[in-house]
């Protein structure tokens, strides 16, 4: 699915990613854990093509297609979806309108007909009820005045509507109460299947109680220093990261 090869990236001439190698095959869920400032969110943003970051060397490929130089929207259309850590508000732009525009941009790229308003609405309502959200959610402006939980649920609503190939969850679990966390996890579990991949970036084990990862990566100072199974998560919860530095 996605293959990242010796990726180095910087912001304002400060190198953050110092050679990342990561491959997530279709059907797998990977987790990246690491301290604050280790470069986890940078990696998520660089995968999505955020132009605030400079890729200095290395490459990112989706299904053997090099996307390192691709624009943000083309990557998105190629199947990359970022669940934002801090989704930005866009006042005056309704959720329904935004969501349908995004969905139809993807459908157009895939050579499909645009989804009409009615079908879209029926779809969206189904997802909303699964996320425990009221239909009136669609009438609100994107992320405008949303609570922390609503913002993250809105991201999951978009994930399930667009149905991309790779979902990158950038600390989607932060700031959520247990109920919201369960709802978000339920959404991600609903999304994943043998044809898509999930990359979870997190500090905590708690989301992983609900979503079982196939591979766990530990990141320190811009590099993935160790990869393994769930036992790594338990080790980190118990001992932190300092044992990796020796």
């Amino acid at each position: 699915m996605i293959k990242i090869d010796r990726l180095k990236a910087s912001i304002d001439d400060k190198e953050i990613l110092k050679g990342i190698d990561l491959e997530i095959p279709a059907g797998e869920v990977h987790v990246i854990m690491g301290r604050n400032g280790s470069g986890k969110s940078t990696l998520a943003n660089v995968i999505a093509g955020n132009e605030a970051y400079e890729v200095d060397s290395g490459s990112i490929a989706m299904n053997n297609n090099d996307i390192t130089e691709m624009s943000i929207e083309n990557r998105a259309l190629e199947g990359i979806f970022l669940c934002f850590q801090y989704p930005v508000a866009i006042p005056g732009v309704g959720m329904a309108y935004f969501l349908r525009s995004a969905l139809n941009a993807h459908r157009k790229h895939q050579g499909k007909d645009e989804m009409d308003a009615l079908e879209f609405l029926n779809n969206a309502k189904k997802i909303l009820s699964e996320l425990g959200l009221d239909d009136s959610f669609l009438k609100r402006s994107i992320n405008d005045g949303f609570s922390g939980g609503e913002k993250k649920k809105s991201e999951i609503l978009q994930l399930l509507t667009i149905n991309p190939k790779l979902a990158v969850l950038d600390e989607t679990d932060s700031g959520l109460d247990v109920d919201a966390l369960r709802t978000v996890a339920k959404g991600v579990n609903k999304f994943k299947n043998e044809n898509n991949s999930v990359l979870i970036i997190t500090h905590y084990q708690r989301l992983l109680d609900y979503i079982k990862p196939d591979v766990v990566h530990l990141m320190i100072d811009g590099k993935i220093v160790k990869s393994g199974d769930m036992s790594l998560v338990e080790k980190v919860e118990k001992d932190g990261y300092s044992w990796l530095e020796n």
Partner: protein, 496 residues
């Protein structure tokens, strides 16, 4: 050289199912699509302005003596006035003697569309406005004016059944002289300001509306202004009177051909709302704005004012200003009647080298009067966008209320937004609220949209349309759709 015409026509796009779902799907040319000119035989005055020219104009229009005298009085005052310089706009001095003050297609206006030059009808068709009543949707009557004269007014008979008068200003002078005499200049005195005085002296045509007591006008009324002729100033005059308990919604649209030289447009619009009457006046101003380097475009120096004469009356201005090289315009409301209401909703877009100095004046005279000002300024390229607003609460205006919200958004780093609110309160019971914000289109907002597969241009128009939502909601449905599309075209390629 092509000869020109000014047409007042209304652009409408119908069959819009859902105004909030429509816009982004459409791909539109980035160019100014109304920039063509029309080749029509015309009568046009030689450039120059003096009392003889005014007399000649008045004679062509077969005006009564009192009106000629009124014009001449205005002209004499104008000669003693000087062009205002306080606005934050910068333009080459206008040579008023180099302009022609009258241009009209050679056809005599008649009641039948068959008498209208086919070239002119074609012009309207190209603008998306059919003057053929059969081809138009019910519910909108149009007065079409080309250069200095009104070409046709639709649905007149239908309106007459309700006692509504909707005709060109020239016809009104002939057919309803008492109304004209009573109300002309009653809201904007001939010597009000430099451009209003010039307009009073040389105005050529425009629209006249009278809604009788207790009548709710059964359809939207609209005028579409088109400047076609070269080196011709357009000076139209609109007068709308809503008698007791009546209601009218009036729409105004404007386009002009692309020409290298600047053209002057100095209009006056007067509104009078009697007791319990409501006037809703919407404008989509899309005059040619000049090219990337700032060459050409319309100088739009307009005086618009409404008088809430009676108790419980209401006047609401909504404007979407995307065109013109220079805009100088402050639609205002005088709230004379007790409990009267004044509203001003505005979206002003400037790009390339466009300059807009626009806003409103709300003058509270009656008790319990209430005004609302919501403005959205959008600057892109090297555009300069200024909000200038005055709120005045006079001594006897007990319990007056004003709410002002002036938001600006900047696209790029070469443009500017400026806000000049003036507040003058002479009654201590007044309640005033003023909010102002300036923000850039956030990189993070664009990133968010792009990450969802939405292209940059679409993302910009989405964000800007969201920013303007409160104003667009005040527009009649057809206009709201047009306004959104216009903003989209205007801002295409402004980021990146």
């Amino acid at each position: 050289m092509l000869q020109g015409l000014v047409v007042v026509v209304l652009v409408f796009q119908h069959n819009m199912v859902d105004k909030n779902q429509q816009v982004i799907d459409k791909t539109i040319d980035q160019e100014y699509k109304y920039g063509f000119s029309t080749d029509v035989d015309q009568t046009k005055f030689e450039p120059g302005l003096d009392e003889e020219v005014i007399a000649k104009l008045s004679k062509i229009k077969e005006e009564p003596k009192w009106l000629l005298d009124w014009r001449l009085k205005a002209f004499r005052k104008w000669k003693k006035m000087s062009e205002p310089t306080w606005a934050k706009v910068d333009y080459e001095p206008i040579d008023y003697q180099a302009l022609s003050y009258y241009a009209a297609p050679k056809q005599k206006k008649n009641n039948s569309l068959d008498d209208v030059d086919p070239e002119i009808l074609e012009t309207y068709n190209k603008l998306g406005i059919s003057l053929d009543e059969q081809k138009r949707l019910e519910g909108v009557a149009v007065d079409a004016v080309f250069d200095s004269v009104s070409i046709a007014t639709t649905f007149k008979d239908e309106l007459a059944k309700h006692g509504v008068i909707f005709c060109s200003f020239s016809e009104a002078v002939k057919d309803y002289p008492d109304l004209i005499k009573k109300y002309l200049g009653s809201v904007i005195p001939a010597n009000d300001n430099y451009f209003a005085a010039l307009n009073s002296a040389v105005f050529s045509d425009g629209s006249f509306v009278y809604i009788p007591k207790g009548v709710r006008c059964p359809m939207e009324l609209s005028t579409y202004f088109r400047i076609n002729a070269t080196n011709t100033g357009q000076f139209e005059r609109t007068l709308i009177i809503a008698d007791e308990g009546s209601y009218v919604s009036y729409l105004e649209g404007c386009t002009a051909p692309m020409r290298d030289e600047n053209q002057l447009h100095a209009a006056c619009v007067e509104l009078v709302a009697h007791k319990d009457a409501t006037i809703k006046y919407s404008t989509i101003q899309n005059w040619y704005s000049g090219d990337m380097e700032g060459k050409g475009g319309i100088y739009n120096f307009v005086t618009k004012r409404g008088n809430c004469l009676g108790d419980n009356s209401k006047i609401s201005w909504t404007q979407v200003e995307t065109g013109s090289a220079v805009t100088w315009k402050y639609p205002s409301v005088i709230m004379r009647g007790d409990n009267s209401v004044g509203e001003f909703y505005s979206v002003a877009v400037t790009k390339n080298k466009q300059q807009a100095d626009t806003g409103t004046k709300m003058i509270h005279i009656g008790k319990n009067t209430k005004s609302t000002i919501i403005t959205k300024g959008i600057s892109a390229g090297e555009g300069q966008n200024t909000y200038r607003g005055g709120v005045k609460i006079l001594k006897d205006a007990e319990n007056a209320q004003n709410f002002s919200q002036c938001d600006s958004i900047l696209i790029g780093d070469k443009c500017g937004a400026h806000t000049f609110p003036y507040i003058d309160v002479k009654n201590p019971s007044a309640k005033m609220e003023h909010e102002a914000t300036t923000s850039s289109i956030g990189e993070d907002q664009l990133f968010y949209c792009n990450q969802r597969g939405i292209k940059l241009d679409d993302a910009v128009s989405m964000i800007v349309n969201g920013f303007c939502k409160e104003v667009f909601e005040e527009l009649p449905m057809e206009f709201a759709v047009e306004a959104k599309q216009l903003i989209e075209v205007t801002l295409e390629n402004s980021v990146g």
